[in-house]
């Protein structure tokens, strides 16, 4: 039977079904339920048909089904292009192709579709778990390819064969991965559905918005410090700056990045660090106060928000230096200062009243007013909680005088409001505070539940100075990290609880692995490739050099593999090997042994030719004949005769 026209056997059908399922199931949860269910149903039906050995449906039914599936996808997603509709279409075609297995060519099509579906998985997630799942799919699919060529071996055998082939592909994969000249995509426009909502800080803050983040242990970014990490209470990761207040929410007002060079002079000690920011889908680039140089593709807004030019949709790495003693904004424009004093007309009368008293008492001495405000916060015995009571009207009054329980946004909001009411320019800064060192790799991990809000107060001559009112009532929150200090009975993300030590250990291990994965597998961008190759000694790693190196190294691997594959050692019985040694020695003395010659007959011949060694020759031949042709001795000293023969032949010098 010609190779391409062979029909698909039942065994091969089972294999193809397994491959299709392994490729489709990881994607099923992404598709709309009816599509996922009907594709699975078709595959199960195909399994039933194989089991009962039914005939395949005629071609026109398949054509109708294909049209129906395409129409269904278009109706469901309103388009045929983009990730999800694409995956849906491919899954439908895969399921339908299983109903059309007529020859080797159809089997090949199914296998290739399965490989392609693995790629589409990566468009949605590229985690370690996904990679492992993809490995399983690729293994099954490759075994299916092997089964399509020869379906006789047992499944375990085919899987092992596929495994061996894939392992032999690994050296090429590594070389290509490192050296293949990378291109920064996209090559053509990406369909619009690439974004997905990620929780994180936004451009406004109302009571409860940060408390909501405290439920999430998603990682926001990781930091590697040069040298010893600075103390927790200094780690303020600056994000959105919100100068505008409407009585309930604080808002960002400046979205345009205007300064590519920091508008201040750094001073004091320096701290170097490198941040790997997760794709949060927003523009804020989180940094410690204050950097001397800005990362590429980012700039400061007027109120010192560090903004990336594009929303961050891919993991981003940047190295920075922080100079915590730098003073900023002493010479800010009046409009900025004025904005930091605006208050809504009415509301929160009690706070306004207290603030007015401070103003009366200290006049223009803003520093004294701030100190008084801090004192006031302390006296009010405010408590820090994740679940503050809900407040309706006059949220600031309600927090400061009635409920006295709040989360960081309550503290910051009330503090800023009070100072503004006392005529001191203040603004809210949101970001992350602290983080947690992963003991496995020593990286500081900052999660969504480390989100925080604090205030900056403009002091004449000193500029914007950070004050964190939360620290007044809950100093441990700032000194330690969030997870360690959150009140016992508050609802916390499961893994943030301190009493889950062993779970945290596991998590730390996994996250360290994830970080390595992110940095070296997912983060191996064209830029990283260039850096890495420079580190390896390439002077100018351009594509020509990379290709040359790639070709040379692949050639080397190919050569090694070829050598290994073509090298076939004949495995000889050890006794025969000894015998060959023996006959070679005799051959030197002119007594040639013929392969067809009985050892004992040969021994007689050799003995008569070399009478001096006759005894020895006969003895060796006798031992050898016994070893080869006699039944093995009953007692378990099986290899002693061989050892004896070996010694005897070694000592034989004709």
């Amino acid at each position: 039977m010609a190779r391409d026209k062979r029909p698909v056997s039942q065994r091969q059908t089972w294999w193809l079904l397994a491959a299709a399922l392994s490729a489709f199931l990881p994607l099923a949860s992404l598709l709309s339920p009816w599509l996922a269910v009907s594709a699975t149903a078709v595959m199960l039906l195909r399994g039933w048909m194989t089991w009962r050995q039914w005939r395949l449906p005629p071609k026109f039914i398949l054509v109708l089904l294909t049209i129906a599936a395409t129409a269904g996808v278009v109706v469901e997603y309103r388009t045929m292009f983009g990730r999800l509709p694409g995956v849906a279409l491919l899954s439908a075609f895969l399921a339908l192709k299983l109903l059309e297995l007529r020859g080797a060519r159809d089997a090949m099509a199914v296998v290739l579709l399965c490989y392609f579906l693995v790629l589409t998985q990566f468009m949605f997630t590229q985690s370690i778990a996904t990679a492992l799942m993809a490995c399983a799919t690729v293994l099954i699919t490759t075994a299916t390819l092997a089964a399509a060529a020869d379906d006789r071996p047992a499944p375990a055998f085919l899987l092992r064969r596929a495994g061996v082939l894939l392992v032999q592909g690994l050296p090429f994969m590594l070389l290509l991965f490192v050296l293949f000249p990378r291109v920064q995509g996209p090559l053509w426009g990406l369909p619009q559905d690439r974004t997905s909502a990620v929780s994180g800080l936004s451009d406004n803050m109302s009571p409860g918005s940060i408390a909501q983040l405290s439920q999430s242990d998603t990682i926001a970014f990781r930091v590697q410090f040069e040298g010893k990490p600075p103390p927790q209470h200094t780690l303020y990761w600056r994000g959105p700056v919100m100068p505008s207040f409407d009585g309930r929410s604080w808002r960002v007002t400046r979205f345009s990045a205007v300064r590519t060079v920091p508008p201040f002079k750094v001073s004091g000690a320096k701290q170097d660090y490198e941040v790997t920011l997760e794709p949060l889908g927003k523009s804020w680039v989180f940094a410690l106060d204050f950097p001397d140089k800005l990362p590429p593709e980012s700039a400061y807004s007027e109120d010192l928000q560090l903004l990336s030019r594009q929303p961050i949709r891919a993991r981003m790495r940047y190295s920075m230096s922080a100079f915590p003693e730098t003073s900023v904004g002493a010479g800010d424009t009046p409009s900025l200062i004025a904005e930091a004093l605006e208050l809504p007309r009415g509301g929160n009368p009690r706070t306004r009243e207290v603030a007015a008293k401070w103003r009366e008492k200290y006049g223009d001495n803003t520093e004294a007013i701030v100190a008084e405000a801090e004192n006031f916060f302390l006296r009010q015995l405010l408590s820090y909680t994740l679940n503050p009571p809900l407040l309706s009207e006059d949220v600031i009054d309600g927090f400061l005088f009635d409920t006295k329980r709040g989360f960081c946004e309550h503290f910051a909001s009330a503090f800023a409001f009070a100072l503004r009411a006392a005529g001191v320019p203040t603004r809210i800064v949101a970001g992350y505070q602290g983080g947690e060192i992963n003991p496995v790799d020593g990286l500081l991990v900052v999660r969504q539940y480390d989100a925080h809000a604090w205030t900056e107060v403009w002091l004449k001559g000193r500029g914007w100075v950070r004050f964190d009112p939360t620290a007044i009532s809950a100093p441990q929150r700032i000194a330690d990290n969030f997870a360690a200090t959150a009140p016992e009975n508050d609802s916390l993300p499961f893994l943030a609880r301190a009493d889950m030590a062993w779970l945290r250990d596991i998590r730390n291990q996994m996250e360290a692995a994830t970080n390595v994965w992110n940095q070296w597998v997912l983060g191996y961008t064209p830029q990283r490739q260039r850096e890495f190759l420079q580190g390896l000694g390439f002077k100018t790693p351009d594509w020509q050099e990379m290709t040359a190196a790639l070709a040379a190294l692949c050639g080397l691997v190919l050569l090694l593999l070829t050598g290994w594959i073509l090298y076939s050692r004949k495995k000889l019985d050890p006794a025969i090997r000894q015998w060959h040694k023996f006959t070679a020695r005799l051959a030197k003395r002119g007594v040639q042994w013929h392969t067809w010659e009985d050892p004992l007959v040969f021994a007689e011949r050799a003995a008569s030719a070399l009478p001096a060694h006759a005894e020895n020759i006969r003895g060796i031949a006798h031992d050898y004949a016994n070893l080869r042709y006699a039944a093995p001795p009953k007692n378990s000293t099986a290899d002693t005769p061989l050892t004896k023969l070996r010694a005897r032949i070694a000592a034989f010098r004709p």
Binding site: M1, A2, R3, D4, K5, A104, R105, M108, A109, L112, Y115, F116, V118, L119, F122, M123, Q126, T130, A131, A134, V138, T142, L145, A146, A148, A149, D150, R152, R161, L165, L166, Q168, G169, L170, P171, F172, M173, L176, F177, F180, R182, V183, G185, P186, L187, W188, L190, A314, V521, L522, G523, T525, L558, L561, T562, I565, L566, S568, K570, K571
Partner: protein, 357 residues
């Protein structure tokens, strides 16, 4: 075999190939040229034929090209979406593709081919050539396919060569002409393990199958008449002198079994009837006694039919051809010698050679 014989065989081979070339399309002609070039050695080759690495060719199959195209598409997808795992996937699959080339190559290289048997057949029957495929490596070599040059791969024989042993491939070829039929060059290929790559080689094992003339369907009756003139004895048909019984031995002809005696006793041994004197009838199958006006091939067909009939009738028969004489006898060897003489009639060169060695 003598140098002259070898030359004449080579000549026959060349004529056969060139006859093929005359009728073939351009594509087949090019293929033929390639085969001739690829064979390198002159056909037929001395045994054993080792498929060294210089004569094993490797090219992707159609499936292999489809696989490569799919890799390209995946690579573009990975580039466009900046999917590093996509890169990893496509590089892994590409690496595996390279590894499979080596495996396919290894599955074929260093195989040895030895000529096996080819039992004589009559014209019109299918000749059955055996090629012994030897595998010295201690690993199974699965999915080897072999077919004759001139047929296409849908007639391929599929075999596995077991580790450190040999397997026999039976190649079939129709026969149209009496005489020696030489096995044409064979293609041996494998696409193991994934069917993405095809490794193949050509070989021309030295196997000849003796093709007897087809026995005539309507032959004159056996020439019982003329033999006495040649001085052969004839005791008259059916008048054998029965001399006794003895225990049956395996070598005794079945028609000498004393069936009646066997039937009489329930459980006794088979008995063989013994005869005295030259009991069997002897006849001569004589070329000259054939009817006039028929051509040589028909004569040979009639003689073949006679031989078969004489053998079946248990006669002791001899043959006289214009340049050949076989004394009367019976049995397999006699039949083989007679038919062989007919097959090689008129080909004095090959008359003496023993064909397959």
């Amino acid at each position: 075999m003598s140098a002259a014989t070898f030359r004449s065989r080579m000549h026959a081979q060349a004529t056969r190939l060139s006859a093929l070339a005359d009728t073939a399309s351009l594509r087949q002609r090019l293929h033929l040229r390639f085969v001739r070039w690829a064979l390198r050695v002159r056909a037929p080759e001395p045994a054993p034929i080792i498929l060294g690495q210089r004569r094993v060719y490797t090219v992707p199959t159609r499936g292999g090209f489809a696989y490569a195209t799919a890799m390209l598409v995946i690579l573009l997808g990975a580039m466009n979406y900046n999917l590093n795992l996509g890169y990893a996937l496509v590089f892994l699959l590409a690496g595996m593709g390279v590894a499979t080339i080596l495996h396919t190559f290894r599955n074929l290289v260093q195989l040895s081919l030895r000529p096996g048997r080819a039992e004589p057949v009559f014209v019109g029957e299918i000749a059955h050539f055996e090629v012994v495929i030897g595998n010295e490596r201690n690993e199974l070599r699965p999915n080897l396919r072999m077919w004759l040059f001139g047929s296409d791969d849908s007639d391929a024989v599929e075999i596995d060569a077991p580790p450190g042993a040999s397997a026999t491939a039976g190649l079939l070829m129709p026969t149209t002409q009496r005489g020696w039929l030489r096995l044409p060059p064979v293609t041996i290929e494998t696409t193991w393990p994934l069917g993405l790559v095809r490794a193949w080689s050509y070989a021309a094992p030295d196997i000849c199958c003796l093709v007897y003339p087809a026995p005539a369907e309507h032959a004159p009756p056996l020439p019982y008449g003329g033999e006495t003139a040649q001085g052969a004895t004839r005791d008259g048909s059916g008048r054998d002198d029965f001399s006794g019984l003895r225990d049956h031995q395996l070598a005794d002809p079945p028609r000498h079994v004393a069936w009646k005696a066997v039937a009489r006793q329930d459980d006794g041994p088979l008995l063989t009837k013994l005869f005295t004197g030259a009991s069997a009838q002897r006849i001569w199958l004589d070329w000259d006694s054939l009817p006039m006006g028929i051509d040589t091939e028909q004569c040979l067909s009639i003689l073949a039919r006679w031989m078969l009939n004489a053998e079946a009738a248990g006669l002791s028969w001899g043959v006289r051809l214009p340049s050949f004489r076989l004394d009367p006898d019976m049995g397999k060897a006699q039949l083989a010698a007679g038919l062989r003489a007919l097959a090689l009639f008129g080909n004095s060169d090959e008359m003496n050679s023993n064909g397959t060695r």
